[in-house]
Symmetry: C2
Subunit: 513 residues, 2 copies
């Protein structure tokens, strides 16, 4: 039929054998985390799950620290129940999560038994692929989690957090890849959380790992889109042999989010690579989230376009808005530029950690303190711990003068051991703690929720029975409400007039009722 001819891509060589590049779809986790403050309710995802399950993705990322946190903090949704729902709705997919190594989904180091329990319970509830990272790239901090994943027979992915500094080299990343593979990882991920990975380094690192560690080492590449350049980096990574790349469906892509899945598909047309994804299903997934997106307008990231300043500050988009609000609270909203210039100096003093949760917050907050109060006049407790080794080892030497300040301020000694080695067994205590909370059901899942979010869990358990709270809002409804507030706001206080009626002056107070 003639219509068929119209849509045939003529420039696509039909006969070349093509290598399949796997795709991890991010829309259920990192996409809405990056674009709409992790607020998407499970309810707004379920209808897309059948298409996601059958589109041909290598895996579906759907769980992590921020989604867990948002579930119990804002959505009154049990994150474990969310995971079980995904498992049921996507029986054919590898479900994937992001795990902060020894920090699990929280912000402190947990004792090894807690790590084991978390991995066992999440696997039981349906998790397949664990992307395990440490914010400092300290391999000791991911070892326990990776071993636990291997014990439950799931896919353990070791992670290299990509960053740049005078000390970070291709050789260094290859060395880290070696160490991770020695732990028994099933694959590696190069994680570019701030969209700093340019095309040539992407090529060089993937190529060097394949050449140096083994051609059969599976390499996944995760890039954000903020700097506008990382789809090119994915192309180069694929040319160098990358096996799987991460993207998000176009209607929830770009800005501080990720490159669009459909653009990846089109990018590979005519090349020796293909995703083999199902275009029709991608179209339906896109339409679904295009319809959902406007419901979360009030949570959308202020950054919508491309931002290349990140190459000098290295500060991820979400962190900038955090720092802005910290500064405004201190009446110093005009000093953001100074803070952005201070961040690289603080990072250097701390031995060049990558900037990713929690190191991004720790370095960023110290930079704010330095600008407001003078360099290192006050150290945050977390920054002091970072300087003393309580988060692990950094690639660079930490500034000895500031280490001394940290010692003096905290009365703690620097450490060089794996931080979790200093922890006492804590599982029984956590069980007891959870048991004391009203609404806790005594499950290991509830113990883990308590362990990771001790401040939020009590309220969540108490209110859990009320069921999920969808914070998405119909845009028309929201606009009408805003207008009503503005109009109403004008008329609430009585207004006093002097009115002359038939020649006589009266004092009149008018109030809208």
């Amino acid at each position: 039929m003639a219509e068929d001819a119209v849509t045939t891509p003529p420039l696509d060589p039909p006969t070349t054998p093509r290598r399949e590049v796997g795709v991890t779809e991010l829309v259920l986790r990192d996409a809405h985390q990056s674009l709409m403050a992790t607020r998407m309710a499970l309810e707004d995802m379920v209808e897309a799950c059948a298409d996601i399950d059958a589109a041909g993705y290598w895996s579906v990322e759907c769980w992590g620290g921020a989604t867990f946190d948002a579930c119990i903090r804002f959505l009154n949704e049990d994150p474990w129940a969310r995971l079980r729902t995904f498992r049921e709705l996507m029986p054919n997919s590898r479900l994937q999560m992001l795990l902060r190594g020894q920090n699990l989904l929280g912000y402190r180091h947990y004792q090894d038994e807690v790590v084991n329990r978390f991995v066992e319970k999440s696997a039981e509830n349906g998790m397949d692929v664990y992307r395990v990272f440490d914010a400092l790239n300290d391999v000791r901090n991911v070892r326990q989690a990776i071993e636990a994943v291997r014990r439950v027979g799931k896919h353990a992915q070791g992670t290299i957090c990509y960053t740049e500094s005078p000390l970070h080299t291709v050789e260094g990343y290859v060395e880290q890849a070696h160490q991770l593979m020695e732990l028994g990882c099933d694959s590696l991920c190069i994680k570019d959380m701030a969209a700093l990975l340019r095309p040539q380094p992407a090529y060089d690192i993937v190529k060097a790992i394949k050449d140096g560690v083994g051609q059969d080492v599976r390499i996944h590449v995760h890039c954000h889109a903020t700097t506008g350049v990382t789809l090119v980096s994915l192309m180069k990574a694929i040319e160098a042999g990358a096996d799987v790349v991460d993207t998000a469906i176009s209607s929830l892509s770009m800005g501080p989010g990720h490159n669009p899945t459909e653009s990846l598909v089109e990018m590979l047309a005519g090349t020796p690579y293909t995703t083999n994804l199902d275009d029709e299903r991608l179209g339906r997934i896109k339409d679904h989230f295009a319809a959902v997106r406007p419901r979360y307008t009030e949570f959308m990231s202020a950054i919508t376009g491309v931002e290349t300043d990140i190459f000098s500050s290295q500060i991820p988009g979400g962190m900038i808005s955090n720092m802005e609000s910290q500064l405004r609270q201190q009446g110093a909203g005009d000093r953001l530029k100074e803070v952005l210039e201070e961040v690289p100096r603080v990072r250097q003093a701390a031995g060049y950690p990558p900037l990713v949760t929690p190191s991004s917050q720790i370095v960023g907050t110290q930079a704010v303190f330095n600008v407001l109060m003078g360099p290192y006049k006050v150290l945050t407790a977390e920054f002091a711990d970072l300087m003393l080794g309580y988060y692990g080892a950094t690639l660079g030497e930490r500034n000895p003068k500031i280490v001394e300040l940290a010692k003096a301020q905290t009365k703690k000694e620097p450490i060089t051991v794996r931080p979790a080695d200093l922890l006492e067994p804590e599982w029984d205590e956590l069980v007891e703690k959870a048991a004391g909370l009203a609404g806790s059901d005594g499950s290991d899942e509830d113990v883990l929720t308590t362990a990771m979010f001790p401040g939020v869990a009590p309220t969540f358990f108490a209110e859990r029975d009320a069921g999920p709270r969808n914070v998405g809002r119909d845009p028309a409804e929201l606009a009408a409400e805003k207008l009503a507030q503005q109009a109403g706001g004008e008329a609430q206080a009585p207004v006093n007039y002097s009115v002359t009626l038939d020649g006589k002056a009266h004092q009149v107070a008018v109030q809208r009722v």
Copy 2:
């Protein structure tokens, strides 16, 4: 100094000799045309010109059909004066324009003398580089303009409008490149107005032209960003030897616009290519347009993200919104999907023209007619002319049945000659016509304005003395006005108040009259 070390890009091999890739900055023409309906006032550009002039661009695109049209239609600005201002403010830059071949900046074919006069006058007023295209890729339609540009000693760039169909092949594009170079072009442009040029075809076409026509043939690549994939295409084009690529400063980039200039710069870090652009000046240009952009919010394109559906419909973003409004006017706003599916069929019937001004409007409008009234029940005058050859030759055969319909409806015969060969000399008549318009100053520039925009020129000349009208609006002012309008609208219904008059409460209904 330590601070310096922090910002040194460590992965950039310092010693390799690098090929300089030229950059054409689009912010003064195509960027605001694509993103804000060409509404930007000269006033909002002047402050950026010194930085643009010194940033190291290969050329600065700043003039074309839509900017000329918008100047006289909406901004009461003389486009010739705008050109002279650019010339003055950017003395070190190549100023570049987009010229619709024999159509100049209008929508019909002009007789050769008018083409010559236009080129002479624009060169006199400061133009350096002429990108000359024909919507059908009919080389006969660009010949006169290219020869005129050569005669005045300026840079003549022949253009290949990129499109896809079962008939369009790499070999075909190489053949067109040959023909254009035989006309004496100084360079070639591959113009991808709808963001359809994927990476592999970009590489293949550039490589094949260099191999087949000559390594010294200068190739420029112009891509829009709509489909999210074309920065990768620029990378591949550069790898294949492209000499210059087009980008727009990041604060006026992406969506239906273009890839960000700064992302291009970063993309090439560490590769054997470099732009040699001045980062600091780019930063200032970015900040300038970031501040200007919100003033044009009401004109901004509704498309902000990535849209890959274009690969099947081939319809540029701007055209979709046109068709939507045409459909709504006919009370058929719900039939857009049918129209989008009809466009490729109409294009096939017309012999697979590229879709770009004016062919995009002609094919799009006919598709709307077909859906609303039945296939080819009514032909627009322009579509009939297209079918009869009055716009030039197409690559594919035109559907003979519809050619017959066009003959019957118009009582015209099909032609195969260059359309302008049928035109009588018209310059003297145009001079006379312009002379009869109040406010026309008798200059050749005014004659050309009259020739190209006969419907708009009279009003413009009459009002020209009032000076430019900046349609950009302060966003806060605009919001306040909107609220006042809404509040005014609400106050028409009676509002109930409790009024306390001299201590006594009254129920009062007040209605604005």
